[in-house]
Amino acid sequence: MPAVSKGDGMRGLAVFISDIRNCKSKEAEIKRINKELANIRSKFKGDKALDGYSKKKYVCKLLFIFLLGHDIDFGHMEAVNLLSSNKYTEKQIGYLFISVLVNSNSELIRLINNAIKNDLASRNPTFMCLALHCIANVGSREMGEAFAADIPRILVAGDSMDSVKQSAALCLLRLYKASPDLVPMGEWTARVVHLLNDQHMGVVTAAVSLITCLCKKNPDDFKTCISLAVSRLSRIVSSASTDLQDYTYYFVPAPWLSVKLLRLLQCYPPPEDAAVKGRLVECLETVLNKAQEPPKSKKVQHSNAKNAILFETISLIIHYDSEPNLLVRACNQLGQFLQHRETNLRYLALESMCTLASSEFSHEAVKTHIDTVINALKTERDVSVRQRAADLLYAMCDRSNAKQIVSEMLRYLETADYAIREEIVLKVAILAEKYAVDYSWYVDTILNLIRIAGDYVSEEVWYRVLQIVTNRDDVQGYAAKTVFEALQAPACHENMVKVGGYILGEFGNLIAGDPRSSPPVQFSLLHSKFHLCSVATRALLLSTYIKFINLFPETKATIQGVLRAGSQLRNADVELQQRAVEYLTLSSVASTDVLATVLEEMPPFPERESSILAKLKRKKGPGAGSALDDGRRDASSNDINGGVEPTPSTVSTPSPSADLLGLRAAPPPAAPPATSGAGNLLVDVFSDGPAAQPSLGPTPEEAFLSELEPPAPESPMALLADPAPAADPGPEDIGPPIPEADELLNKFVCKNNGVLFENQLLQIGVKSEFRQNLGRMYLFYGNKTSVQFQNFSPTVVHPGDLQTQLAVQTKRVAAQVDGGAQVQQVLNIECLRDFLTPPLLSVRFRYGGAPQALTLKLPVTINKFFQPTEMAAQDFFQRWKQLSLPQQEAQKIFKANHPMDAEVTKAKLLGFGSALLDNVDPNPENFVGAGIIQTKALQVGCLLRLEPNAQAQMYRLTLRTSKEPVSRHLCELLAQQF
């Protein structure tokens, strides 16, 4: 008979558990549980008082149901009642329920605390332990407040039983960790330290954990623990394998206590007292000696227990880092484990050696194991062991073995697990940089990285190689040659194209003398990759091309051809389009001198922290957002990842490579150098006055935006008269719109972007987008002069009752606009209901002391809020008929002002906002459209028909909407477009 039969004592519970196990489906289980819950509920609510046994049984069933994953919302009171039973089995179930289903119901907490208090005072060690375990398991602040003062007393009381002391020590530890403020240090602390001398090893085992925790916050108060711990350790270590009887585990005396004592000692520096220190060193040597003795048992438990102590001993030796003899012995011991048949030992040896590698005394000893570690990297089956091997190689790397280690890591990378590739890439990149003696090796290594594991080469890594090549002119020619060769591979990684593009754009001239890498060859090689690359890479390549125009004038025509191609100039991606437009203009407008200045080689990067190191640290740092995050990595592993120079010798010799590692973290700007220069230049180009100071020039982004619609020189806007030199108008009274305002407005009826206004002083560009009844408009005010505009203030005004029809929110802009600079204003627009007149834009500023004022019509017309509607011919005619009241229709017959081109007309109608419906009008020459005007208050359905008569050069335009003024207004707006 087993000592414990199934569910003995509680037959009902065993039956219930059997039932649940026999359930064939989840539904059956839930049904059975609900039946049981109903049963228990009725028992708890019944008139008959339950006896303790039944109560225990039902509470235990509830607990089981909860552990199966179901919610329990009753029974807490019955569980609390069990706490005051004087039977152990009932009390135990009560405490278990409370510990598992912690409930911060204040009423219950008071009752629970009361029961705990009684049990703590009961002098019954079994009950006291139950109460202490409950506190230790729950560890809530309320419990801390109630018992933090009592527990130290129980812990050090002379008459407490050993088991109670054990529980009290760990209970106190839990309360201290949860709320340290509630556990005041007192005279009891000294007596706690003396628990290290307790006769009962179990008490010592529990007390060491408590002391280890407390001494971290108050090292001085607990300093006396050092000598006590050393003597206790010494007694254990020197005892024979059977001396400690109960505490001997597979012939190893008190392994867990030994480990705990060794960890306690790691909270302090080496003992100052020579005698204590001598005794401790003796202990450590004994442990190392025992490792060499033949095992007393073949069982893995024996060797594990023994080695647990050994590894902790080595940790302490490394922590002291002051005994060269012990460090080297530790290293040799670990070296033996590197080839042990137990995977666990190989793993732990690699891990432990990693920390040894950072000690000056053992670094060289660690290095002797390089071949074994490389072999581990190649042959270990467990990825985590290979990972440790890679860590160790990284830690033992110095100038003497860097080439070997880097090449082994590169080889490993080809087959490495995906999970660790990025980390290996970072490590290789750091080592290659740190120990580079000649930089051609560095460049080769990084290009190899990209070739082997391009996907895992993060931006930091390839930015870094560009920084280093830019900063070191002795490697630039080699870099250009190597990337050129690398790019010749039929399939090369996009990161290679980026690095290649950047380097050739900067230093391609260094290899241009060789006919095999002449400028046209370089260009066509790069351009052969262009179409397969992402937008970012293509943008980078465009910058390379403009740099080529500067470096190699003979490529200018070819490159201009590429830039001019529709696929660039009208690329759907704004960035690419912009670069193509700007670079094309730059290459055709600027003189060679200007070009050479703008596209000059990049200046060296300022030297700061390596971005790659920072990234590696981040990768190894604690993850984010999980409840487990408060765990910390041990300091030693942080050191490794921090890439501390492993040997003092390399630290002491200042080397150029070490300096380079300090290069700055910031990546090269995403938009390469040429673009910012180009931005400035373009401002210069279209300003009439003296060149703008580049420092005051616009930021590249603003400059780009202003160039979205290049100014059209033939535009009539240049004819604008100078603003009237009137006195400063008051803020409210604005002048009438300039005479051309309507004409300017008409230009924007069918388009959203362009130059709204331009004179000798000022250019105003517009970019806008509309969706439903909402719109956003960007206005760009460019100062074309070299003099600052002051009191610059553009405002939007709603004449008449437009306020109720259209809401326009504007953001203020800076009151000063520097010469050559551009400011941007954002307008948020909401169409509330249909409207006929556009808002006015009033711009005022002072130029050279003279006030300037200008009023324009803001290009917001009702058709901007069109939503195109597709419909079949039948539907169209049906609706057309429905809108047949005379006031719903507006019609205009007018003469064509522009050549009658069907494609242009189509584009204009689409720009106007309606859908174009094919196959509706029986006459294919005619255009038919439909759409809905979206306003906040209402929607207006619109149908339109445009009938061109080419012979007469006339149009007939018919609009039908549900609102008379809208029909007329739309008709007028649209009629002016043809």
Partner: protein
Amino acid sequence: MIRFILIQNRAGKTRLAKWYMQFDDDEKQKLIEEVHAVVTVRDAKHTNFVEFRNFKIIYRRYAGLYFCICVDVSDNNLAYLEAIHNFVEVLNEYFHNVCELDLVFNFYKVYTVVDEMFLAGEIRETSQTKVLKQLLMLQSLE
């Protein structure tokens, strides 16, 4: 320190979950699933240690049951590996050739065994003799 102890079978059913940190119920469920996923894919040639979030799992398989202890990364792997075995030997003695069903039907007793040997995330008692003596004494109580 120990963050949690889990006993799971190969199918992922939890036979014991003892938490030494505050987690809400959803998080507990997530951890249970993650541990199962991490541990069951490993074979005998692998180490008994797995990195787990910012911690590590020390585990050992006995027949169809995985005994897993989640500890801080700086903790001593082998000491906890043997702590698992020590615990299993106590269960084996207490339940006389323990099997998975013993843990199911006597789940409330397993908690008592755990509390005798581990408390507040630390090892409380390591002597099998002492633990069993105490358990048998408790067993004799009404």
